[in-house]
């Protein structure tokens, strides 16, 4: 015989249990996986929104290399720059052809051609074309072609491709390896490549969605909480204010794309690793004057030092094209490396540990000796940011 009271008690208990379990289950269902800023729709802000209050910066940014870090393969400028050009690398003739409004790459030793889907780089140093396919799990995968367009307008071997103009330089008579269209990155590396060359790279289940990507950097790429700042009409300060960062934190922020020294092993960071000149923050972090500056900044409260802040943005405005006048950079050096007798206060003179140049007069060009331009491969030069006294000089 069923007793109503028993049913009521049991019913209430089961209902109570079910409700609480459902509420907790709902919490589990709705909890969000924390996303990388670059992939997260939270905090995105359109550049035109920023331009309402910062029109000057927004306008200058259009000219900056950061605003054109990634272009589609069918971009007319890309077609014009690459089409009908070829280069021979390690005995392989690599040729770019326009087919309709698409750019295609052929390799004389391979029976198939690939379409150029994206071109990485602003062209300030080089532009490297790449093709996208998908791995067996459906993740986009980037193949970087071994030929890039250098700043001098010539095709040259892509750094890191392992190919060179002559087979001998490539290490063996046939180029050192079986011919391939290029180096194919796995899904993780592909995500890293696009992550640094885009302003928004959404992911679904860990898979990047290139169709929804915003190519090129925009404001929120380096100012992650800009949307809140914009929504508040500028009242809320951005959570990340670059001025609040220490010099080391600052160069490390740049280093997230341009490489950080602390993400290399000790044996990778030596002067004989010539490829390091591509990674300016690494060179900066190793430079004695940066280290002194960093220490000085760190002990700023003590009043013991007189150092200017020194980091990437001391010389480079990331919103503008790089200044080409060498004197601009030399002046920055002279800010600290001034003869001591020219410093007004005796206290400052005592605190000043930066030595003036013992070899050259103060009005000579500092960067010619200490930050020379180094040609990595023909047509591709970088300024060596490892500021130091060079043995060869």
């Amino acid at each position: 015989m069923i007793k109503p009271r028993g049913i009521v008690f049991i019913g209430v208990a089961v209902a109570l249990l079910a409700t609480s379990v459902m509420l907790i289950d709902r919490r589990f269902r709705h909890d969000r996986v924390v996303s990388p800023v670059i992939a997260s729709p939270i905090g995105k802000v359109e550049t035109r929104t920023c331009a309402e209050c910062h029109p000057g910066i927004a306008e200058r940014f259009l000219e900056a290399p950061h605003s054109r870090t990634l272009r589609r393969g069918d971009d007319p400028q890309v077609l014009e720059a690459f089409a009908n050009r070829s280069i021979e690398l390690a005995g392989q003739r690599i040729r770019f052809d326009a087919r309709g409004d698409e750019l295609w790459v052929s390799n004389s030793q391979l029976p198939f051609d690939l379409r150029v889907d994206w071109v990485f780089g602003s062209g300030h140093h080089a532009m490297t074309p790449g093709a996208i396919d998908h791995d067996p799990d459906g993740n986009p995968r980037l193949t970087q072609f071994p030929a890039s367009l250098m700043a001098d307008g010539q095709l040259g071997p892509t750094p890191g491709s392992g190919l060179s103009v002559t087979p001998e330089e490539s290490g063996s008579p046939d180029g050192g390896q079986a011919p391939m269209h290029g180096i194919t990155s796995d899904a993780d590396d592909t995500r890293r490549c696009f992550g640094c060359h885009s302003g928004y790279l959404p992911e679904t289940d860990g898979r990047i969605e290139l169709g929804k990507m915003r190519p090129n950097l925009d404001c929120s790429r380096c100012h992650p909480s800009a949307s809140r700042h914009a929504a508040s009409g500028g009242e809320i300060r951005p959570a990340l204010d670059w001025a609040d960062l220490s010099p080391l934190e600052s160069i490390n922020r740049c280093g997230e794309c341009h490489r950080r020294a602390d993400e290399l092993t000790a044996d990778e960071v030596t002067p004989d690793q010539t490829h390091l000149i591509r990674f300016a923050p690494v060179g900066m972090a190793m430079s004695p004057c940066f280290r002194s500056s960093q220490m000085g900044q760190a002990s700023e409260g003590s009043g013991a030092k007189r150092f200017s802040r020194f980091d990437c943005v001391t010389c480079h405005d990331p919103h503008s094209p790089a200044v080409t006048d060498p004197e601009y950079y030399n002046d920055t050096c002279r800010n600290c490396h001034t003869p001591h007798d020219e410093v007004a206060s005796p206290a400052d003179r005592r605190a000043l540990t930066t030595a003036p140049c013992p070899v050259q007069p103060v009005d000579s060009s500092c960067i010619d000796c200490h930050m020379p331009k180094v040609e990595l491969i023909p047509g591709l030069s970088f300024t060596d940011h490892w500021i130091r006294v060079r043995e060869s000089r």
Binding site: M1, I2, K3, R5, G6, I7, F9, I10, A13, V14, L16, L17, S20, V21, I24, D25, R27, F28, R29, D31, R32, V33, V34, S35, P36, V37, I38, S40, I42, G43, L110, P111, F112, D133, D135, P136, T143, Q177, A178, P179, M180, T184, D186, A187, D188, D189, R192, G195, G206, P224, A239, N252, G255, E256, R260, D262, E263, T265, D267
Partner: protein, 827 residues
């Protein structure tokens, strides 16, 4: 309703008392059997069929008892206990983990197993398991016999069935690690509550006995187990319900008893190294979702029952709960009693954290056994009036009982895996593998075998260098799961109370002997353990690092919660010397493959990864690189691990066929390491032995897909042979051509490369398929290690008729893999 109950009570009691006091055992049985239970009056109990049921249950319990120890956290708790014994510390986790400095309540959890292991090795641990099963089995047999004699065979049958099913479902949790202590504590609490409450749940025991018993129970529970807060929750639920349900004139007595029990529990439970904070820790472990992000909690298997894979224990828990509710819904007495709220507490915790299912099973099973053990008139759901006639004749009904018992318990035995994770999973998957029938034996499961890891580390010189305090300084190990951290902690050896491990230079730390005092040189430690990370508030950090490793996010990046990610710096900050990666974590293995972390072993259940360039591991890294080359590019045949006499090979007492987990996980590991030919070689042996296991075919197909992808990258499209093997659409041949290759690939798929190669020699190649078929032969030759023949075929193909362009490229690509052969022949 209360009035009804009061009015009826004397009648009920008189009837029960009459049976108890006045009726001899045989007469009682006769009286019971008149109610339709199936045994005619005057017959004895148990009959032949019931005895047969008993024998069957004995076999079932034997299977449960003789399961090799397979708990993932075995080595963790053994290390934990060893630390307590050898260093005399009360903070073993804090000593063993570099990230942990908290005290802990359950400091004794591993001490008994560690002591037993030190004395008796794996056999000692098995004896604990055996003793527990034997003790519970004996108790249940005694109870069933008693109840059967008093209340009839059906009640006894129910008791046996419920207890056996519970024991079978708890098989993975009966290993002598801390979960076992929790299970015992819950069982004792449940039994204790059943004992101290008289008929209709009236508190009937003396308060002194209750106080002492409860204090002792909770003292032991908090020092050995992790969930004493569950006991407090049960007591509170019981107390509330008792107060509400009792008649007013008895509430004072009840209140006193309940208050005494609660106070004793709190005081007894607080007698541990961290005092009252045990309740916080225990509550956090019971409800991890209350303190950590649900996504993180779920990643460590602590999600709600609604979001976990259901194994047999989960199903049993729900089934028994439904029976329990049913008994109360159809109960003649009011259902609002102390047990209802206590059950509600248990149900809440289990449903919100699926990892507590074993505790839930114990509680519900004891509740039901308690119900069936009571005299008939006190049993919820039992008819009060005798039925008019028996349901069936005695023999038929007993036979039916036997049949049902065999069916249900048999199903349970095949649906339960002795392995809690990786080998367990959903209940039907365990069933497909034969459940407990396939894994019975003696010793420790092969997945917990630490010897390969020991060997890998012994062949590096990290222990020697640790004595000299190298400037590298990195001395911590990141472990990806409980098993990895346990195995590594065990191998690293005990840590002195000053925080430094003893550093045996002969690699003998893993033999379980406490050989020598802890010294102060070196400081090798595991970084963290998920449970300790949860208690210390580090679980999100731990999870983030693990996720970054699994997603290949090496460099620093920023997340939308304002925190930085990227594994490189996180591992640097933790002074990580190596990573211990579980072999089942193939995602992590795949992501580590292109990184700076290089494996120190290819076959260990826990694979150590050291950083390329670390001088302590360089020799071993190079050795393993050579092994990789050998298994993938040189003549090599896989041999499944041989059955031996070590404690890790005693599955089926060392006499049965080898566990298929070994080759399966080896194939998966090789595939994750991109050693695809080696994968196919392992699978060739495994598929020959277990041709119908779909898991091998899945790995094989995946491997073919990856090889096809590799071919596509090299030549623009995969060869026809590879496309057919991988099941890709490109593999279909143009209409009209005789499809020889298709037939050969069918043979390849079902019987392997050797058979396909033999058959290919007999078929005549149609025009237009020469190159494709020759390439298929080339691949088969290389797969079986016939490299000389492969080189000959390559030369023949190059000198022969014109090949399709992609075949030319692919042949050249395969030829580049044979550089060593030409070098050898040149010598």
């Amino acid at each position: 309703m209360v009035k009804q109950r009061r009015a009826r009570r004397p009648v009920d009691r008189g009837r029960v008392e009459g049976v108890k006091k006045d009726t001899p055992r045989g007469d009682r049985a006769a009286a019971d059997n008149s109610d339709g239970s199936g045994s005619p009056a005057g017959s004895s109990w148990p009959g032949a069929w019931d005895r047969l049921s008993g024998v069957f249950l004995l076999v079932g319990l034997g299977l449960v008892a003789f399961q090799p120890i397979a708990s993932d956290d075995l080595w963790w708790w053994l290390s934990h206990g060893r630390q307590v014994i050898s260093a005399g510390t009360m903070t073993p986790s804090g000593d063993l983990l570099s990230e942990d400095d908290r005290g802990e309540a359950s400091w004794l959890a591993g001490s008994i197993p560690a002591l037993v292991y030190a004395i008796g090795g794996a056999s000692g641990l098995m004896l604990i398991r055996l003793s527990v099963v034997a003790a519970i089995g004996s108790l249940v047999a005694w109870l069933a016999f008693r109840v059967g004699t008093r209340n009839g065979p059906i009640a006894a049958w129910w008791i046996c069935l419920i207890a056996t099913l519970a024991l079978v479902s708890l098989s993975p949790d009966l290993d002598p690690v801390t979960t076992l202590w929790d299970l015992i504590a819950v069982g004792v609490l449940g039994a204790g509550l059943a004992c101290v409450t008289g008929e209709r749940n009236t508190p009937a025991a003396g308060s002194r006995l209750v106080a002492v018993g409860t204090a002792v129970l909770f003292f032991l529970w908090s020092n050995f187990g992790r969930f004493p807060a569950l006991g407090i929750g049960i007591l509170v639920g019981f107390a509330l319900a008792t107060l509400l349900a009792f008649p007013r004139h008895r509430s004072r007595d009840a209140l006193r008893l309940v208050a005494t029990a609660l106070l004793a529990a709190v005081v007894g439970g607080s007698l541990n190294p961290i005092g009252w904070r045990v309740w916080i820790d225990s509550f956090v472990l019971l409800c991890p979702w209350a303190v950590a992000s649900p996504v993180v909690v779920e990643a460590f298997g602590w999600g709600p029952l609604t979001r976990t894979d259901w194994d047999f224990a989960s199903i049993l828990f729900v089934a028994l709960s439904v029976v329990w509710i049913g008994l109360r819904v159809f109960a003649p007495a009011p259902a609002f009693d102390g047990r209802l709220l206590a059950m509600l507490v248990v149900q809440f915790f289990v449903w919100t954290s699926g990892s507590l299912v074993p505790l839930g099973v114990v509680w519900v099973a004891i509740e039901l056994i308690g119900d069936f053990s009571r005299d008939r008139e006190d049993r919820p759901g039992e008819p009060q009036e005798p039925r008019a006639r028996p349901l069936a004749g005695r023999s038929d009904f007993a036979k039916a009982r036997f049949a049902v018992m065999v069916a249900v318990v048999g199903l349970a035995l095949v649906s339960t895996s002795s392995r809690p994770h990786g080998g367990g999973g959903r209940f039907w998957e365990a069933g497909a593998r034969g459940g407990l029938f396939t894994t019975f034996g003696w010793g420790i499961d092969s997945r917990l075998d630490p010897r390969h890891l020991e060997l890998a580390l012994a062949e590096s010189n990290f222990r020697v260098e640790s004595n000299f305090r190298t400037e590298a300084g990195s001395r911590t190990v990141f472990a990806d799961d409980v098993r990895s951290s346990g195995v590594v902690a065990w191998i690293l050896g005990p840590v002195s109370s000053l925080g430094s491990p003893e550093s045996p230079d002969d690699g003998s730390a893993g033999d379980g002997k406490f050989d020598g005092d802890a010294t102060d040189d070196g400081a090798w430690r595991v970084q963290d353990h998920p449970e300790r990370a949860l208690l210390g508030g580090r679980l999100s950090d731990h999870h983030r690092l693990l996720l970054d490793l699994r997603e290949g996010r090496q460099m620093r990046y920023w997340r939308d919660d304002g925190q930085p990610g990227g594994w490189w710096l996180a591992l640097e900050q933790r002074d990580t010397a190596w990573i211990a990666c579980s072999r089942r974590d193939v995602t992590l293995i795949r992501r580590l493959e292109p990184s700076i972390w290089k494996p120190l072993s290819l076959e260990s259940p826990v694979i150590p990864y050291a950083r390329a360039g670390d001088p302590r591991f360089t020799g071993r890294i190079l050795e393993v690189l050579g092994q990789r080359e050998a298994v993938d590019r040189r003549p090599w045949a896989y041999r499944p691990p041989a059955v031996g006499d070590s404690p890790y090979d005693r599955q089926r007492w060392g006499a049965g066929p080898r566990d298929r987990w070994g080759p399966l996980s080896q194939a998966r590991v090789f595939l994750a390491m991109e050693l695809r030919t080696a994968t196919l070689r392992v699978l060739a042996v495994a598929r020959e032995r277990w041709p119908h296991d779909p898991r091998f075919l899945r790995v094989w197909t995946r491997c073919q897909t990856e090889l096809a992808d590799e071919e596509q990258l090299v030549a623009g499209r995969a060869s026809r042979f590879r496309s057919l093997a991988a099941g890709l659409p490109d593999g279909e041949l143009a209409a009209g051509l005789p499809d020889v290759l298709h037939e050969l690939v069918k043979v390849y798929r079902s019987e392997g490369a050797r058979e396909a190669l033999l058959m290919s020699a007999e078929v005549k190649t149609p025009d237009g398929q020469d190159g494709q078929l020759a390439y298929a032969k080339l691949c088969w030759m290389m797969e079986i290690g016939a490299y000389d023949e492969a080189l000959g075929l390559i030369r023949k193909m190059r000198s022969g008729s014109a090949l399709e362009p992609e075949i030319t490229v692919l042949v050249r690509h395969r030829e580049s893999e044979l550089w060593w052969l030409e070098e050898d022949s040149g010598r």
